[in-house]
Amino acid sequence: MHIGATTDSRSYRRAVAAGRARMASAGRRPWIGAATVLGLAILWYVLTTATGAVSPARFPRPADVWSAALQLTLRGYAGGTLWLQIWYSSRLVLLGFLVAAATGVPLGLLMGMSRRAEALINPAFLLIRPIPPLAWIPLAIVWFGLGDAAKIFVIWFAAFVPALINTYTGVRTLDRTLIAAARVHGASERQILTEVMIPGALPLIFTGLRLSLQASWTTLVAAELVGAFFGLGRVLIIAAQDIYPGMIAFAMALVAILGALMTGCLGLLERWAVPWRRT
């Protein structure tokens, strides 16, 4: 055996693999992932149901999650059925997110365009930015109580910052030559804004919006956990008080699925609005 030859072919394969890895994660082998998920599901069943190694009071059995799902869908839990809870949570997220996007993006554009506006607004922004969104929850409750207004206020703080920063960065990192070229060709300030700056900054604006949306969702769930009348966070906290692991697991899965769905929808919107963006 030529040891050198085997090493060579191995390193060659390794190099090919590294090359593939560079093409992002496109070459992932999905069946391995599917097998892992299936294996975990079987492990879950074996540990909780077949052997009883894990007490169902600590971690739900698959059957518990199923019955929790049925209960929430058909009879309702924590003040409403599945659809009502989802409707409450997603409505608030959308409202808060829209308010944040409608304020954060224009302000980011303004700060990106004008050094003066940046100098004027930045101090207040710098003072507020280090405070994490969740830290606004107690203040929001003192100010607005447990209703919708408090939630929208907190979501606004959570989602406003990424929308603003990314829009601002998108405008500032634009190629100055493009703007100069537009100006030389007689474009008005308004045309420069709508035809150069906004399209140029759009990829980063969408990055900001995606982060905003994720922050909105996390913050809303937290706000509902701390105090609310309806919503998935409310389902979670009531299930925790009732020591109902099946419902906890089901509600957590719902939080994850809805979060993924929202991000997915925004991705579709982005593909439609920014068709030239790579990846």
Binding site: G33, R115, P138, W143, A240
Partner: protein, 281 residues
């Protein structure tokens, strides 16, 4: 969720080409004055609204009142402890959760970057769990750990873990294949490959991940403390909220903001140092 990197204002400012000022562009003095004006406007507006009585003082205390409360809290206990003691217990939890996430996440990420099969196995599960907001672990944290130390740490961990894994994995993936080839042809085994190629090569990416992770850990900590514990700054704020003591709530926010800011500054400095070291090597 989370783990994505927000674009960086300082980076953007650095990226701006230093060219001659345009006609009518503001000078340094004007910008400085405007910034001062911004600060003054922020506090001035706050002061005026609070003093005018448009909003009851119970809800919006004047800046001076909040500052006085802040200093008062540092020597007079509220909710059982002084502000420093609350902060210490918060920081202790933060460090434990963050250290655990880094200790588990970075090696896992490096292994995933090196062994393709491990990446294939772990990624789908990891991606699924990543969509669960850290704060949604609160019920299980309460169920499994009660009010013990484990609950907040679980929540902090779930916030801080993903960026550690993702950045370590990316860092390991993006190492120059030549370096790996060279090490391999010189006969490096898996262990030496890790210690002498992968870890050093991925270090800048790992440190960037740790910074993001620390930010998320601090945020998740605040969320955890609002719900599952009986000390810490978050708890102080909840107690202030239920007493309708707005100055105490605001003092808590300021303390959280300051500590979060300091953590970020420290890790940014570490990151810059490591990057400089790498550029020089």
């Amino acid at each position: 969720m989370g783990g994505a990197v927000a674009a960086d204002v300082t980076a953007a400012q650095g990226a701006r080409p230093a060219r001659g000022r345009r006609r009518g562009a503001p000078g340094v003095v004007e910008l400085g004055l405007l910034s001062l004006g911004g600060f003054a406007a922020f506090f001035g507006l706050w002061f005026v609204v609070a003093r005018s009585g448009v909003v009851p003082a119970r809800f919006l205390p004047a800046p001076g009142v909040v500052a006085a409360t802040f200093f008062h809290l540092t020597h007079d206990p509220f909710a059982g402890y002084t502000l420093q003691q609350h902060l210490l217990s918060s920081i202790g939890r933060f460090l434990m959760g963050f250290a655990l996430a880094a200790a588990a996440g970075v090696p896992l990420g490096l292994l995933m970057g090196w062994f393709r099969w491990l990446d294939d196995v772990v990624s789908p599960v990891f991606e699924g769990f990543r969509f669960i907001a850290p704060i949604a672990w609160v019920p299980f944290a309460a169920l499994w750990f009660g009010t013990g130390i484990g609950g907040p740490i679980l929540i902090i961990f779930s916030g801080a873990f993903p960026p550690c894994v993702i950045n370590a994995q990316r860092g390991a993936r993006l190492i120059e294949p030549h370096l790996i080839e060279a090490a391999r042809s010189l006969g490096a085994g898996h262990c030496r490959m890790f210690a002498e190629v992968l870890v050093p090569g991925a270090l800048p990416s790992i440190v960037a991940g740790l910074r993001i992770s620390a930010g998320l850990a601090w945020q998740s900590l605040v969320g955890a403390e609002l719900i599952v514990v009986s000390s810490g700054v978050g708890y102080l704020m909840v107690q202030g909220q239920s007493n309708l003591a707005t100055p105490i709530v605001m003092s808590g926010m300021i303390a959280i903001g300051i500590v979060g800011f300091l953590i970020d500054v420290a890790l940014r400095a570490a990151e810059a140092r490591i990057r400089r070291g790498w550029a020089g090597a």
